[in-house]
């Protein structure tokens, strides 16, 4: 019950923060902030970060973490890029691209899941080790250079608008809905939250926690494939070192969205709000010409401030008013 209340509060805080940011930017840069170019830029950046943040969040919900999401994304991206540039652009090679990416993700996810659930390596270490290993493999197979010039069927994802909405944003919405169903409406989702609250009790309740944990890391890795596709379509290339700055921001988005860093609590809706807030901030600060270094420091500060506010202090403040 109290968890539910905290959750509602998170969404109230986020709405307030979004309102503050919108009002502030409306005064500071009214013409640019409300321009369609700004919305286009937000719409093109949010999906990649959003999918990665969800990939991070599902593991944090179980009390774990996945530090290898970026390396996984790049590994899947490189594999898909290789297939896409080596076979003629037919329907079957399109499917082959997807299959290759998915196969890579399932292998990576199973290895991570095995290390965490069966060998009992702590999630930080297991994903850190796999991250290092994957980075090495990515650099080795790509020789540090990028694979570029994809066929149209990949590029079209980024350039299509459906009813005026960019396709990547629709892909992101679809991922959000699917995850919402998985996490909040299915038995598998229930188990994820239970493991995050108390893994041992869940195990004693007769639930196969090992199997669930392995599936969670596979799910996390499969989400990285979607991020990889969006990234490939946007940049028309794949490289071992893309997107490294997303790692922290994806943790930030998850925690900001109300995911408990110890696991067990957190809703998809809160995360979407947090992502909107982050992207508006980044885009607005960018327009204002604020140094990206300051933005980097701000992400850290924002995360600490939010954790601080979520603690007892603000709830007391709210009750008094």
């Amino acid at each position: 019950m109290s968890a539910r209340k905290t959750q509602d509060r998170v969404e109230i805080y986020l709405s307030l923060l979004i309102a503050v940011v919108v009002i502030a930017f409306s005064f500071l840069i009214p013409s640019v902030f409300w321009s369609s170019a700004n919305f286009q830029s937000i719409a093109s950046q949010m999906p990649i970060l959003g999918v990665l943040a969800l990939a991070m969040a599902v593991t944090i919900l179980t009390g774990g973490i996945n530090l290898s999401i970026i390396a996984t994304m790049n590994a899947c991206g490189l594999v898909m890029a290789w297939v896409a540039t080596h076979y003629p652009p037919t329907l079957s090679s399109m499917l082959l691209v997807l299959a290759a990416g998915l196969a890579m993700a399932i292998v990576i996810g199973s290895v991570i899941g095995f290390l965490i659930a069966v060998v009992r390596v702590s999630p930080i270490l297991a994903t850190l080790g796999i991250m290092t290993l994957l980075k090495g493999i990515n650099i080795l197979i790509s020789k540090g250079s990028s694979i570029a010039n994809f066929p149209d069927y990949i590029l079209v994802i980024n350039s299509t608008n459906l009813l005026g909405i960019p396709l990547p944003l629709l892909v992101f919405l679809a991922v959000v809905i699917i995850l919402w169903v998985i996490l909040e409406k299915s038995a598998f989702g229930r188990t994820i939250y239970l493991i995050g609250s108390n893994e041992q009790a869940t195990h004693y309740a007769g639930i196969n926690t090992r199997k669930t944990l392995i599936w969670v890391y596979i799910l996390s890795s499969v989400l990285c494939v979607i991020a990889a596709l969006l990234m490939m379509s946007k940049l028309n290339s794949a490289k071992a070192s893309y997107g490294e700055s997303y790692l922290l921001v994806s943790i930030l988005a998850a925690v900001l969205g109300g995911v408990n860093p110890d696991g067990g609590f957190g809703k998809v809706f809160g995360m979407v709000m947090a992502l909107i807030l982050l992207q508006m901030l980044e885009s607005g600060l960018n327009i204002l010409g604020v140094s990206s270094y300051i933005t980097m420091a701000l992400w850290g500060g924002l995360l600490l401030a939010f954790i601080f506010l979520k603690g007892a202090q603000l709830s007391r403040l709210f009750r008094r008013s």
Binding site: S122, G129, T132, L248, D262, S291
Partner: protein
């Protein structure tokens, strides 16, 4: 008892692996077992070892700190800026850099204690704040100019070996010896060391026994900060430049070395000897790959394989030792 034997086994295993790899290298490359190579190896890995000592204590206490690369750079950047044109000595450099590092470490400790979320989240945040502010304030400008006394360095017991090069106790080596002895003394001979082990083993029990958790966190993260500052001086003295972004991602290398040494990331378990062996293993492997002319594309792969293998073995043996559920 079981735990103790387990730890000893791990160290024995590390030692044997190092001897095995070292033996192969001295057979495969004529350069490996030379005074020059080993001397350079110690000098080059002094900074890593110093940081590993700091991180070792944090991990034993049950926490983690990945903000230390930022602390290392900030401390030495400020130190190098302040000593311009002074006729000071290395004591001044260590005091400035170490003091600032200590201060930043105390910030980490306070945040970890007050905000009550996993220390990895806190230190990821402070890493970004520290780095972001540093890069913004310095605009990424490198520092090249040092006072003459700093460039000269320190060399005790200097002698010229048969190969024509000078050897002796350089600043990195002296610092390394002092830091390792100090860390070993704190963790093995003092009550605060025992309390840090206890806190990492079972924080709740340690707290009920009346240990001041906050005080200990101040000590642990402060020590990590101090080591960062000290490592900053060593890095400066070795390369004689400060590049604000030079240590980006270095936290994982140090973490890998400490974990390789068998230190448990959930706290309470691990030895300084293991940590040192972990550093040596990493150093020997990287040196070996260079000497045997393996393409640099392979380096990260090999490091990754070694890390994954080692953490898996550690986790597996601990799991058996505990008879863990699930």
């Amino acid at each position: 008892m079981v735990k103790k034997i387990g730890v000893k086994t791990h160290e024995l295993f590390l030692g044997l692996t190092i001897i095995l790899i070292g033996g192969y290298l001295s057979y495969a490359s004529a350069d490996f077992l030379t005074l020059g190579n080993l001397y350079d190896l110690i000098n080059n890995y002094a900074m890593l070892t110093i940081l590993a000592c700091g991180l070792f204590i944090v991990l034993i206490s049950g926490g983690i700190d990945i903000s230390f690369p930022a602390m290392t750079i900030i401390s030495q950047y400020v130190m190098v800026t302040l000593i311009q044109g002074t006729s000071g000595n290395f004591a001044l450099a260590f005091a400035l850099s170490g003091g600032l590092g200590l201060l930043l470490g105390l910030v980490n400790a306070t945040l970890v204690n007050r905000l009550k979320v996993p220390s990895i989240i806190i230190t990821i945040s402070t890493l970004n704040i520290f780095y972001g502010l540093l890069l913004y304030l310095t605009k990424g400008v490198w520092l090249y100019s040092y006072p003459a006394w700093f460039e000269e360095g320190v060399m005790l017991f200097k002698f010229t070996a048969a190969d024509g090069y000078d050897y002796g106790l350089s600043l990195p080596i002296i610092t390394l010896l002092v830091v390792v002895s100090l860390t070993g003394f704190i963790m093995n001979k003092t009550s605060i060391g025992r309390m840090i082990y206890a806190m990492g083993g079972n924080r709740e029990a340690a707290s009920r026994m009346g240990f001041g958790i906050f005080k200990m966190q101040l000590f642990v993260y402060g020590y990590m900060g101090l080591m960062s500052g000290v490592a900053g001086v060593v890095q400066s003295a070795t390369v004689l430049t400060v590049a604000p972004d030079s240590l980006l991602g270095y936290e994982l290398t140090v973490l890998a070395a400490v974990v390789l040494g068998g230190t448990s990331i959930v706290g309470g378990r691990g030895t300084l000897l293991g940590t040192l062996l972990g550093v040596v293993l990493l150093a020997v492997i990287q040196n070996g790959l260079n000497l045997t002319g393996v393409s640099s594309y392979w380096h990260t792969v090999v490091t990754g394989v070694v890390i994954v293998t080692s953490i898996s073995m550690t986790a597996w043996s601990q799991r058996k030792g505990e008879g863990a559920v699930a």
